[in-house]
Amino acid sequence: MKMATVEINDLVKRYRGTQALRGVNLRLESGCVTGLLGENGSGKSTLFRILAGVTRPTRGQVLIDGLRIGVETRRVTAYLPEVDAFYAWMSIEEQLEFLASFYPGWDQAKARELTQFMKLKGEARIGELSKGQRARLKFIVAFSWPSRLILLDEPLGGIDPPSRARIMRAMVQEFRAEEQTILISTHLVAEIEEFVEQVVFLHDGEVALQGNADTLRTDRGKSLSQMLEEVLS
């Protein structure tokens, strides 16, 4: 068994009036691409935020490379939320330079290569980018440095359908550094089906099903999309 990058034990997150996560237990193996699937409100984004260290859990333990969530884990985690969290007044280059100041091993040459691959111009102002272009920028930010954990929350939204698979393939197969663990959530399950090695289905704040993607497909004779429908029903 591979070493775990992420270990989550009995994770609970309560917001005022709602319980977003109800005792989640999870283990993400180092270097694996894991798909986090579930309907709206199932707790996916909350789980991402807790792993990224921007939201605190109500209860439970979360470890990244054996460390509790804090400054040290944020130093090895690339988090791209579902919303546009970029500064609209910055150009792409300025945004990348700003982030480069904080993350060890940030590779400007790789960032430029990725910018070119994504067909973006470094001098373009972020506020003037389309939704799809901003989604592409998220990938540039996520893969320009050798983080241990990449958290991609709905990264494909806004990207035109023909480009989705091409971008995902390039990121996972070409631009991913060795042993980088990726956790990705999306409603577009078919688009990531071929890339995910592990899969976790969240339903109503709980892990409904998890395991090796190939094993689950073989055992159940269903695609991940079909399994998601089954979980939701």
């Binding site: 260290g53 921007v54 969290a85 970029f86 904080f102």
Partner: protein, 253 residues
């Protein structure tokens, strides 16, 4: 320090339009006021005090820059950075204080010029109306000291209160607006209430230090104005400390 510098530069660039407007406004008012001082100076020279009123607005700029991260959803990015959260807050405070310092320097350069020209006018025109109330030989150090004390006493406590309000705001689960207003009211009350005993204690510690800041004829040299500034700085430090502590402990997306 590298991280702080990056946050500071980011914030400075984010506020460049506000900074430009404030600085151009300050310079415009200052030049207009300066041109009002001739052989017969007009009351228009008094407009030079207007830029100092920025001390009342800058704390709200601080509140705005913090809440702006949430409005633009950039708080996801800033909170995910591998830095302590208090550093994010302090970088914003540092930018607002820098802006205040630049406004103070620009305004006071012109205030000193106006003071010198009015002194000259006073000497050459002793019958000159309200000029007879002016101290004819206010030194440069008096002008800079007096302006600095007035500006600091206005700006620093409000910055401290604004920081504490930012901390309370992230701690409050509901009624965030009300909590912010409440902190400003309570902070103002505490500042006024603690002033006499703390300044008194500072006098006991540092002793009397009579600053010759007489601007108007007949006014006694101010004795504890600098200690009032010191009290304001301590109050600001307390507010910033409380804000930073609460921000570090409670802020989340």
């Amino acid at each position: 320090m590298r991280y702080f510098a990056a946050l500071y530069m980011k914030e400075l660039r984010a506020q460049r339009m506000v900074a430009a407007v404030l600085l151009l406004g300050t310079l415009g008012i200052a030049v207009y006021a300066l041109t009002g001082v001739g052989e017969n100076p007009s009351a228009r020279a008094a407009l030079i005090v207007l830029p100092y009123a920025s001390a009342l607005g800058l704390p709200f700029l601080l509140v705005h820059t913090i809440s702006g991260e949430w409005t633009a959803q950039t708080h996801y990015q800033i909170l995910a950075l591998p830095v302590p959260r208090w550093m994010v807050l302090l970088a914003k405070v540092a930018v607002v204080l820098s802006l205040g310092l630049v406004i103070y320097v620009c305004s006071t350069v012109f205030l000193q010029l106006i003071s010198e020209r009015m002194t000259t006018a006073f000497v050459t025109n002793k019958e000159g109306g309200f000029l007879s109330l002016m101290e004819p030989h206010a030194s440069a150090s008096s002008v800079w000291g007096f302006a600095g004390i007035v500006y600091g006493v206005l700006l620093l406590p409000l910055i401290g209160i604004a920081c504490a309000a930012a901390g309370v705001r992230v701690m409050a689960q509901r009624f965030k607006g009300l909590a912010t207003v409440g902190v400003f009211v309570v902070g103002g009350y505490l500042y006024a209430k603690l002033q006499a005993p703390v300044v008194g204690a500072l006098v006991r510690i540092f002793g009397e230090w009579r600053l010759d800041l007489a601007i108007h004829r007949g006014m006694e040299p101010t004795s504890d104005a600098h200690l009032l500034l010191m009290y304001s700085a301590l109050f600001a430090a307390l507010g910033i400390g409380v804000g930073a502590l609460l921000f570090e402990r409670y802020v989340e997306a």
